[in-house]
Symmetry: C2
Subunit: 338 residues, 2 copies
C-alpha cells in the first residue's frame, strides 16, 4: 500500500516548510501573511499529489473535533432514514462532521455505539429512539459530550419529540368520524402495535382514549394489542384476537400496518376495515383501508434539534413536542360508504 502524501512531501516539492503547507491547505495562510504566490504553488502541488489531509492527525491537534454523532435504531425505515439523511445534510451545512451509526434497537449496541462516539471525540451526540437514553446521557456527560434525545425522551438531556398525544388524538377523531360515516354506526376500534411502557406508545394510547372519550365511548381493553414493533408478533397476536369487520384500526407505526394487513387479508370482508396509522409511508397511504396517516415532521424536529445544537444552552429539562402532519389518504374510487 503506497503511503499517502503528507504535508512533508508537499513541503519538499514546494520548497517551503511543513508549517507553511499546513496553513495554506487549511486556509489560514492569509492570516499567517504567506504570499499568494506561495499559496498557489502549494495548492497546485497538493492537488497534483492528490493530497488529502489526515483527519486523525488534524483532529488530534485541533482544539475542537467538529464531529457530531447520531445513533439511530434503523436506516431501513422511512422515518429514521429521513432523520439520518436530514441530519447529515444539516450538519454538513454547518461545517460539522456527522458520524451516524445504526443500533438496531439493541440496548447493548446503543451503549457501545455511544462510547464509540466519545472515542471519535464527538462534541455532541444525538440519541435517537434509544431504549435507555439516560444511561447514554450519563456516559456522555462524564466525557463532556452534550447529549440530545430525539424521538424518545430522557430525563438527563433535552428531548425533541413528535407530539404523539396530539397526533394520536387527531388521528383517532378521524377514525371515529369516518367509521361512523362509512358503516352508519359506531364499530369496534382497535389499537395495534408498539409496546406499553414505551413513551410514544403510552402517549399515543392516551390520545386514542381521549378521542374515544370525546365521542362518549371507551376502548375495550382486549382491543389494545401491543406486542412490540415488529410485524410478525403483531400479526400473530391480532390474529388470535380474531377481530371481526366492520371495525377500525389505529396502527401504531407502519411496521404494525404490515402485520395488520396479513390479518385483514384473511378476513371474510377486508373492505369492512378502516385504518389510521401513526407514521407515514406513500404506499401504505394507497391501501384501500387507509384513511389517514400521521406523518412525523422530520424537518421540524431537526430544525429544533439544530437550534439546540447551535445555541449552547441545553437545559436537560427542555422538551419540545413537534406537531405531526396529518395526511389524508386518497379515497379509492371503488370504496362504497356504509
Amino acid at each position: 500500500m503506497p503511503r499517502r502524501a503528507t504535508i512533508y512531501d508537499i513541503a519538499r516539492l514546494a520548497e517551503v516548510s511543513p508549517g507553511a503547507v499546513s496553513s495554506v491547505l487549511n486556509g489560514t495562510w492569509a492570516k499567517r501573511r504567506i504570499s499568494r504566490m506561495t499559496a498557489d504553488r502549494v495548492n497546485r502541488i497538493a492537488a497534483e499529489q492528490g493530497y488529502a489531509v489526515n483527519f486523525q492527525a488534524s483532529m488530534l491537534r485541533r482544539e475542537r473535533s467538529h464531529v457530531i454523532g447520531m445513533i439511530v435504531p434503523k436506516y431501513d425505515n422511512r422515518y429514521f432514514g429521513a432523520i439520518a439523511e436530514r441530519f447529515e445534510t444539516m450538519a454538513r451545512a454547518r461545517g460539522l462532521f456527522p458520524v451516524i451509526t445504526c443500533t438496531r434497537r439493541d440496548p447493548d449496541l446503543e451503549f457501545e455505539a455511544a462510547r464509540e462516539m466519545v472515542s471519535y471525540q464527538a462534541e455532541c451526540l444525538v440519541v435517537t429512539g434509544a431504549t435507555d437514553p439516560d444511561r447514554i446521557a450519563a456516559l456522555c456527560h462524564a466525557a463532556g459530550v452534550r447529549a440530545i434525545n430525539l424521538d424518545l425522551p430522557g430525563r438527563l438531556a433535552p428531548s425533541v419529540l413528535s407530539d404523539n398525544f396530539d397526533g394520536a388524538l387527531r388521528l383517532t377523531r378521524l377514525l371515529v368520524r369516518r367509521t361512523e360515516a362509512d358503516f352508519g354506526a359506531p364499530v369496534p376500534l382497535w389499537f395495534v402495535g408498539g409496546r406499553v411502557g414505551d413513551n410514544n406508545t403510552t402517549e399515543r394510547l392516551r390520545g386514542f382514549h381521549a378521542a374515544l372519550a370525546e365521542a362518549g365511548r371507551s376502548a375495550e381493553p382486549s382491543h389494545i394489542v401491543t406486542p412490540g414493533y415488529s410485524s410478525a408478533p403483531v400479526a400473530a397476536e391480532l390474529g388470535r384476537a380474531a377481530p371481526a369487520a366492520p371495525l377500525g384500526i389505529f396502527a401504531n407505526s407502519t411496521i404494525a400496518v404490515e402485520g395488520v394487513m396479513r390479518v385483514v387479508a384473511g378476513l371474510p370482508d377486508p373492505a369492512g376495515v378502516r385504518m389510521a396509522c401513526f407514521d407515514w409511508d406513500p404506499f401504505a397511504a394507497l391501501l384501500p383501508q387507509m384513511i389517514a396517516m400521521a406523518r412525523q415532521d422530520v424537518e421540524g424536529m431537526l430544525a429544533r434539534l439544530f437550534a439546540l445544537i447551535d445555541g449552547e444552552e441545553c437545559p436537560a429539562a427542555a422538551r419540545t413536542e413537534i406537531p405531526c402532519i396529518l395526511e389524508l389518504a386518497p379515497r379509492p374510487s371503488g370504496r362504497a360508504a356504509g
Copy 2:
C-alpha cells in the same frame, strides 16, 4: 468542557506508566507480560473514570485504521437503507469501523465524500450507486484506498450488482403472461422510470425487450418512459403519454410506482392496470395492480462484497451479478380476471 481522561490520568491513579495503561486497555498486556493484578487495577480505574480511548490518537499511531467507508445515495429508501444497515453489521462483525455517508445522488457530494473517506484513512471504500464511480476509483487508487462498486458498475474497480437483465426478463415474462390471462389478449406494455444511459435501466430495458421478443412481440418506443428516478417527472411524462387501460406497466423502481399510481388513480378504470416492479416494498406489494416485484438480494450482494473485502485480491475486472428474488404479490380477492 471538562477534559476527557487520558492514559496519563489513569497511569497516575494506578501508579503505573502510561505505556502499561495503553497495553492493558488494548488487550496486549499478556503479551507484554504485565501482571493480571496490575491489569485488573488499571481496568477498574479506567472504568471508574469513564475512560474511552481517543480514536484520533490511536488510529494515528497504529499501522492500520480498520476504517471502512461507504457512500450511498439515500438512507430514506428500502433498498439503500437495507444496504447501509447490513454493511454496518457485517463490518462490525469483522472488527472494522464502518463510516457511511449519504450523497443524495449529487456527483460533487459523491466526490467530496470519497475524499473525506480518504481523510478518515479508510482502507477500503464501497461506492454505492454512484453517478461516476470511475472518478472516485481513481481518487481512491491514488491514495492507496481499495474501491469496490456496489449497485452500479465501474471499470476501475470490481463491481457487485443485481442481475438486472435476468430480473427484468423474469418480471416481464410474468407481466406478459398475467396480462394475457387477465385480459384475454395481449395489451400494451409500458416501461416506466429510470434514465436511459444508466447501466441498470439499460440492462432492465434489455430484459424487458428480450421477454417481449420471446412472446413474439415488440415494444412500442412511445411506451418507454424514462424521465429519471423521482416520482414527479414520471407522473408528468406518463400522464402526457395518456396510457389507456387495459395495459401492463413495468415500473423501474418503487419511486416510479409512486408516479405511476398518481396517473393510474386518474384513469377511468384503474382495475384495468397490471404492474410489475423492479425493487421491493412491502406496501407496494399490496397495491391491487401489483402482480410481482423483483426484490434485490441485499444479503447476497453484501456477502459477495465482503468476500471481496476479506480476500485481498480485487481484480478491477471482477463483476458479480446477484440474481433478484421474485416476489409474487398476493392476489387481492376482489380482482376478477378478464
